[in-house]
């Protein structure tokens, strides 16, 4: 499920949280949500969502469901669904995702590859339904 900014400050849903000032190295694999506010070097394999906080510095190969970047990332990002670079976010590397959004101020230095959305999961309502609602 897509996350809102207020979710970033709520650690209750998190599987792993790396606090500011904490330095982590290695391969981190997680089934649940991960939030990084400190430093991470290595490889991240997250089966859920990854949030990279404003003060975070990440040098890693990243794979996750949804990725939200508000800090600095150096390395490739593969998001199965959405990659969102927020206004303070900086990504230096190639990214692959189904959907990409970059807020004003956010920086992406690298190539972006868009994956095709599977037809089984439509992301938007058909237009005629909207028109019908308007008519009512």
């Amino acid at each position: 499920m897509a996350k809102d900014r207020k979710d970033f400050a709520d650690p209750s849903h998190l599987d792993t949280l790396i606090g500011k000032g904490v330095v982590v190295e290695g391969r981190l694999a997680s089934e649940g949500d991960v939030q990084i506010n400190g430093q991470f070097n290595g490889e991240l394999a997250v089966n859920s969502d990854l949030i990279i906080g404003e003060h975070a510095k990440v040098k890693a190969e990243i794979e996750a469901n949804n990725v939200y970047v508000a800090g600095e990332v150096e390395g490739t990002i593969t998001a199965k669904e959405k990659l969102e670079i927020l206004e303070t976010g900086r990504v230096n590397g190639n990214v692959t995702s189904q959907a990409l959004s970059i807020e004003p101020g956010g920086i992406l230095k690298g190539s972006s590859e868009m994956q095709e959305v599977s037809e089984d999961q439509p992301t938007a309502k058909p237009t005629f339904e909207v028109e019908e609602e308007k008519a009512e």
């Binding site: 650690p11 998190l14 599987d15 792993t16 949280l17 790396i18 606090g19 500011k20 000032g21 904490v22 330095v23 982590v24 190295e25 290695g26 391969r27 981190l28 694999a29 997680s30 506010n37 400190g38 290595g42």
Partner: protein, 270 residues
């Protein structure tokens, strides 16, 4: 029959003072029991071998944190032998978390209980249940003077508590031999969470720019090393010191706990 292993020294020799009412209450609730006094906690394993029989329903620790930790360690090698606690010290941590706040509630639980399976971990060569805390030792006087008090408010000396550098120790953790974590550690709490198998939840409170920060990790195995030796505390008892290896194991300990229906607050009758 319940096997009551009593540590007469626990809780400032509290057993001496409660021995008579304890026996009365056990009799009143029609609980069959056998009392064995532990003279030396290091002999607990031998006591269990000698006294556990086919009709033993559960082994009950009558004492404080040290007694509970020692009996849990000794019981881990027995398959499915239930464990109960009658707390005789005021700081019996595991008993409190299981809903037994006094020796009376401990006795009531023997008469009417539910079984909860507590996951076990290994710290060095011994087993533990519940939670562990790793934290640098603090000077006792410093702790007292940091506390806010009415008197200190009156003389205007209540200061805002700030984390101090000396209460934080450079610490390195190795999780499952795949991840290393470096931090300025203030406190580390390690416990098991339902639904995560034998993975331990590791909650760190660290210091960064004079502010405390939280971190959460999960691991089956944890190696802790630090610039200063820190105590590893289970209940209120120091069970080891860093550097240390802590592991989640696939064993559980059946523990007698208060039935859920009794934990619920009573509803007001209208």
């Amino acid at each position: 029959m319940y096997l009551l292993l009593v540590n007469p020294k626990a809780g400032n020799q509290r057993y001496r003072r409660i021995e008579h009412p304890l026996n009365l209450m056990l009799g009143k609730l029609d609980i069959k029991y056998k009392i064995v006094l532990i003279e030396d906690l290091t002999n607990t394993q031998d006591l269990l071998k000698h006294h556990i029989q086919a009709d033993t329903e559960a082994v009950v620790a009558v004492g404080g944190n040290g007694t509970v930790n020692t009996i849990i360690d000794a019981l881990a090698d027995y398959e499915n032998m239930p464990f109960g606690i009658i707390p005789t010290s005021k700081t019996n941590h595991l008993a409190k978390t299981l809903g037994m706040t006094s020796w009376q509630t401990g006795v009531k639980v023997l008469a009417n209980h539910e079984i909860k399976h507590l996951r076990l971990g290994r710290i060095g060569e011994r087993y533990f249940a519940g939670s562990l805390v790793v934290s640098p030792k603090r000077h006792l006087l410093a702790s007292i003077f940091e506390k806010r008090s009415l008197l200190r408010s009156f003389i205007g000396a209540n200061l805002k508590q700030k984390p101090k550098e000396e209460h934080n120790v450079a610490c390195s953790l190795n999780l499952d031999n795949t991840v290393t974590v470096q931090c300025q550690l203030n406190t580390m709490e390690i416990y098991f969470q339902d639904g995560f198998g034998k993975k331990m939840k590791i909650h760190l409170t660290t210091l960064s720019d004079q502010k405390t920060q939280d971190s959460i990790f999960r691991a089956n195995q944890l190696n802790i090393s630090s610039s200063l030796n820190m105590p590893v505390i289970c209940g209120n008892e120091t069970v080891a010191n860093t550097p240390i290896k802590i592991q989640g194991v696939s064993k559980t300990l059946p523990v007698l706990t208060m039935p859920v229906s009794e934990k619920l607050p009573r509803r007001r009758s209208i």
